[in-house]
């Protein structure tokens, strides 16, 4: 009896952690949606939160939806348990609460990328809720595979704040990968459901008829819409592997052949088709002045007709939790640092897919030189030129 009362006295006196009951709703998105559709999204976002919590649980007790389609996305619920909740550890040394131990200060509880320590980072930590990832082996518009995320966690992203977690136990990494998929899925469903409430279900300043109310059960129309969206997002994750970009074998060249290939690569670099120099600069040092933003920022700025550096217009979004919009600049290719890996396969994928979520465009792969794309051989020329640039300083 004595110890509990002692604890209560202490908590009153010293103050304890604030309890984390729920995931915060995606207010930035609701606001952007309200602006885009010129309507109130309050009701829609309220009901979305309720439905999403039914489906995916809370930060302490995550859940994975039961439907057959949802089940396809391979997320192990035991992993969700290990990665979620407050930091703690068990007798054998295994940690639980991994996400809060390793990721939350940057990526935030919801995976919004606006964690406590995010402000000074450039690029900002990823907002997982868009379901868009930069560094992956799959096609631009597709989800990354579990293997991609796992590799990313081991390697980290040099030159950004994203750490390498190579020293973590393999099971910890698996758990974290699943949790990233969980947060991303949950966040994307949340976005889609809110949008569908406005666009398909008559949500607005007033609530729609009962049939259209958002629900986590599939009987009503509101329930079916939710179910479809859940299935769709889960399926996207489940089929990611099928969209892995196959990389043709990379012919190792040396001597004159290499010199010639690099020279051709240089031409493509400056040429009309790839026109890398147009953004990365003729010298490839990223020194051309550009003014652009990534898709995570555009989502609540240019896409809804707002200027990111208009402070007044940004105020409500900043209040809702958005970080200050930050421009994205083409990288220098001369410092030997490639955020997504500098090996030939990674560069091939970067060139042929572009970088999802960023202005970096893709070069089309063509069978015969036709002035619209590059052939595989030509892309390898370009890769060799870029690799050579990166080592020449």
């Amino acid at each position: 009896m004595r110890i509990p009362s002692l604890i209560i006295v202490f908590c009153l006196f010293v103050g304890c952690d604030s309890r984390i009951e729920t995931f915060e709703p995606n207010e930035v998105f609701s606001l952007a949606l309200a602006k885009a559709r010129s309507t109130s999204t309050d009701l829609a976002s309220q009901d979305t939160s309720r439905v999403v919590e039914d489906l995916y649980g809370t930060p302490d007790e995550p859940r994975w939806p039961e439907s057959p389609a949802a089940k396809k996305a391979v997320v192990d619920e035991r992993n969700l348990f290990r990665a979620s909740g407050p930091v703690s550890s068990e007798k054998d040394g295994t940690h639980v609460g991994l996400f809060r131990e390793h990721c939350v200060t940057c990526h935030a509880l919801e995976g919004s990328g606006a964690g406590p320590a995010s402000v000074f980072q450039d690029p900002y930590p990823r907002d997982f809720r868009h379901g868009v990832f930069k560094w992956k082996s799959t096609e631009r518009g597709k989800k990354p595979t579990h293997r991609d995320i796992r590799e990313l966690l081991t390697k980290g992203i040099p030159g950004t704040a994203m750490p390498s977690f190579a020293l973590l136990a393999p099971e910890d990494l698996d758990a974290l990968v699943d949790y990233v998929v969980f947060l991303s899925t949950r966040g994307e469903v949340e976005r889609r459901v809110t949008a569908a409430a406005i666009d398909e279900l008559d949500y607005g300043d007033t609530a729609p008829i009962a049939e259209l109310i958002l629900s986590s059960q599939g009987d009503t129309e509101g329930g079916q819409v939710v179910q479809e969206l859940v299935d769709r997002v889960h399926e996207d994750w489940a089929e990611a592997e099928q969209y892995e970009v196959a990389v043709p074998s990379f012919p190792e060249l040396s001597g004159e052949q290499l010199v010639a290939s690099v020279a051709r690569g240089k031409e493509f670099f400056h040429g009309k088709v790839a026109n890398c120099a147009g953004c990365h600069g003729p010298a490839g040092d990223g020194s051309l002045p550009t003014l652009d933003y990534d898709d995570w920022t555009k989502d609540y700025t240019t896409r809804i007709g707002l200027t990111p550096d208009d402070r007044e217009a940004m105020k409500p979004f900043r209040k809702a939790g958005a970080l200050r919009p930050r421009t994205i600049a083409p990288r220098t290719l001369r410092d030997g640092v490639f955020h997504g890996g500098g090996d030939s396969a990674s560069l091939y994928r970067r060139i042929t897919q572009g970088i999802a979520g960023t202005p970096m465009p893709a070069v089309e792969v063509v069978a015969e030189p036709n002035g619209k794309g590059l052939t595989t051989g030509q892309i390898w020329d370009l890769v060799r030129y870029v690799q050579q640039l990166s080592t020449s300083q």
């Binding site: 110890i3 002692l6 604890i7 202490f10 908590c11 006196f13 010293v14 103050g15 304890c16 952690d17 604030s18 984390i20 915060e24 930060p59 407050p86 930091v87 703690s88 550890s89 068990e90 007798k91 054998d92 040394g93 940690h95 809060r100 131990e101 390793h102 939350v104 200060t105 940057c106 935030a108 509880l109 606006a114 964690g115 406590p116 320590a117 995010s118 402000v119 000074f120 980072q121 450039d122 980290g156 992203i157 040099p158 030159g159 950004t160 704040a161 994203m162 750490p163 390498s164 977690f165 190579a166 020293l167 973590l168 970080l323 410092d335 030997g336 640092v337």
Partner: protein, 382 residues
């Protein structure tokens, strides 16, 4: 947020300071000059020597998030703390190794604190010093409870309070060691070399005050809540950085003021503080970098563009932990200098004719020194 926790530490330290100040003044006139027993002082030194490593290990526990490696308390997995099989401890997981080690060391500190109180009871003639040692014991028990509750409740806020209270306790140990030292009495015989005005005392009080504030700010960053706002975090970072340079500036000014005082027990640690704060600033930058990569304002540093943060790297965690430990060291050293300065000031007040002190430039007046010595010794002889 737990400002109450901060207040708790301030209250503790504040009370201790008041006790010291009040008694220092009376003591110098009463000529209650029996030195504390050697044993008392030695135990204090032992405490200081144990508590700094304790802070290191405690810092490591946080850096490795090992705080919850042993989920029960006061026992360890049902064992009595001291009876936990040492083989499992030494050969088990690293988390368990440091967490259990931290508890063991903490318990040893507690035992030393108990012996200190006992020896002070028998050997210490100044009652207020005995009370001070009692205060130390209460503090160490409080700290143990805080640590235990942190584990039982799995609470980050308590972890932060525990982390802030530790350095305060360390500083208090250092202060007690100074007060029980033989030199403490020798100050009486050495007065007049410098004149310690209230401005100087304030300046030297500002250093521990500022460094403790820094410590608390740092703890807020280190024990940040998962749902803390990025704006507030950024504000704390900015304050922490600005105050670091302010503190550095203050230590330089303070050292300039007393560098020629002729008393090495003052000028040396004051000089040391400048160096420690410099090291601390470097460690602070390092701590940021190993946690969050190079910030944009330091993008000119060669190699920063390709820097890769490595979570839980050993050398990285040493950098972070030494930032924590150096913070406590700065606090303790600045408290030591300040307490000694207070001592000098109070000895002067009690014994020197104020008019005489004002007339002469105390800095370079051997005559004055002699005179003081005589007048100081008078009551003793009488």
């Amino acid at each position: 947020m737990s400002w109450a926790g901060w207040l708790l530490s301030i209250y503790f330290v504040g009370t201790a300071i008041k006790v010291v100040e009040r008694n220092m003044a009376s003591e110098s006139t009463l000529a209650e000059q029996k030195a504390s027993g050697q044993l008392v002082h030695r135990l204090c030194l032992l405490l200081v020597c144990l508590v700094w490593p304790l802070i290191w290990v405690g810092g490591l526990v946080t850096t490795y998030d090992a705080g919850m490696a042993v989920p029960d308390w006061p026992g360890t997995y049902g064992y009595n703390l001291f009876l936990y099989p040492y083989k499992t401890w030494l050969l088990g997981p690293f988390d368990l190794f440091i967490e259990h080690g931290h508890r063991l060391l903490g318990a040893v500190v507690g035992l030393v604190a108990i012996s200190l109180v006992i020896s002070a009871h028998f050997k210490e003639s100044r009652r207020w010093v005995f009370v001070l040692t009692l205060g130390l014991l209460v503090a160490v028990i409080t700290q143990g409870l805080l640590g235990g509750l942190r584990v039982v409740l799995g609470d980050r806020t308590l972890a932060m309070v525990h982390g802030c209270f530790g350095p305060a306790f360390f500083a208090l140990c250092a202060a007690t060691a100074v007060i029980t030292s033989r030199r403490w009495n020798e100050y009486l015989g050495r007065q007049g070399v410098i004149r310690v005005g209230s401005g100087l005392v304030m300046l030297f009080a500002a250093i521990p005050a500022l460094s403790y504030t820094q410590l608390v700010l740092g703890a807020q960053l280190r024990h940040v809540q998962p749902n803390a706002s990025p704006g507030i975090f950024a504000m704390i970072v900015a304050t922490h950085v600005i105050m670091a340079f302010l503190l550095w500036f203050l230590t330089a000014v303070a050292w300039l003021k007393i560098r020629r005082c002729g008393d090495l027990t003052l000028s040396r640690p004051a000089g040391l503080l400048i160096g420690l704060v410099a090291v601390q600033i470097a460690l602070g930058v390092g701590t940021w970098v190993v946690n969050y990569g190079w910030p944009s304002i330091l993008a000119w540093v060669p190699g920063s563009a390709g820097f890769l943060v490595r979570a839980k790297g050993f050398s990285d965690s040493i950098i972070v932990t030494s930032h924590v430990a150096t913070g406590s060291l700065i606090l303790a050293v600045s408290v030591v200098v300040w307490i000694r300065l207070l001592r000098v000031r109070h000895c002067c007040k009690g014994t020197i004719d104020p008019a005489a002190t004002e007339r002469e430039d105390a800095d370079s007046s051997p005559k004055n020194e002699q005179k003081t010595n005589v007048s100081l010794l008078e009551p003793v002889i009488a």
